[in-house]
């Protein structure tokens, strides 16, 4: 019953989780803007969101993570982490680094904007749930 109540929040929750994941990846790209041989990475957000929400299992999915290198990887419990791809550089750098700082910044700004959008949608949904609970 409670599960049903919060099911409407799941989509934006997943979106939020993936957005924060992407901001981490983009931050990594920007951190390595001056590292020789670093290959910029990103993932296809649409595909990642589809595979995160399309699995059908309701409720908030949690992902186990390893705090020690000796831990075994627990696969199949949570949503599979997005498939990481490599960016194709527009202009090749001499040190084989493929980070384009402008592209990364633009992506990061867009990502954080969309994160906030998801947050607002989620807030609105929570508010309307609360309104219907309070009945006023």
């Amino acid at each position: 019953m409670l599960d049903r109540l919060t099911q409407t929040l799941d989509f934006n929750t997943q979106a939020l989780l993936l957005r924060s994941e992407r901001s981490r990846v983009l931050a990594g790209n920007m951190a390595n803007a001056d590292t020789p041989h670093f290959q910029a990475r990103d993932f296809d957000f649409r595909q990642a969101l589809a595979s995160a929400t399309g699995s059908g299992s309701a409720g908030l999915q949690t992902k186990p993570f390893r705090t020690h290198t000796g831990h075994l990887a627990a696969q199949g419990i949570g949503p599979h982490s997005p498939k990481m791809l490599y960016r194709t550089p527009m202009q090749n750098a001499l040190d084989a680094n493929t980070v384009d700082l402008d592209v990364e910044r633009a992506n990061y700004a867009e990502n954080s904007l969309r994160y906030e959008a998801s947050l607002r949608f989620l807030n609105g949904q929570i508010r309307s749930l609360l309104t219907s609970i309070n009945g006023q």
Binding site: S20, S23, R24, A27, G28, N32, A33, T35, A109
Partner: protein
Amino acid sequence: MSLFKVFDVASSAVSAQSQRLNVVASNLANAESVAGPDGQPYKARQVLFQTQMMDADATAAGVRVAAVVEDSAAPRRIHDPSHPLADAEGYVTMTNVNAVEEMVNMISASRSYQNNVDVMNTAKSMLLKTLQLGS
């Protein structure tokens, strides 16, 4: 929450860039020096950046200074017979610091530093907004 990892990643970059800035400062300070305490001219130092994975699934890529290496470029030799440290032929051996290169290095480091601070600020405001969720 992956957003907390953004701080780890960006702060690793900030500290790496500040170390680079430190090296640039030391190079520029010695741009005109003739001989160090050991009688050898100062050699320009360069930082070597390396990607550092912050977690097991290797999506959070931080950065660290792997090593500080000495520039192998040949030292500058200037003809100045009146200099007290001139050799028999009248040449003074100067450091191999290239001031123009170092200035470019400095600008690049400060730009990267600012960028990563911006990243941290954005992540911070995102987290603060998340904290207010449902209120």
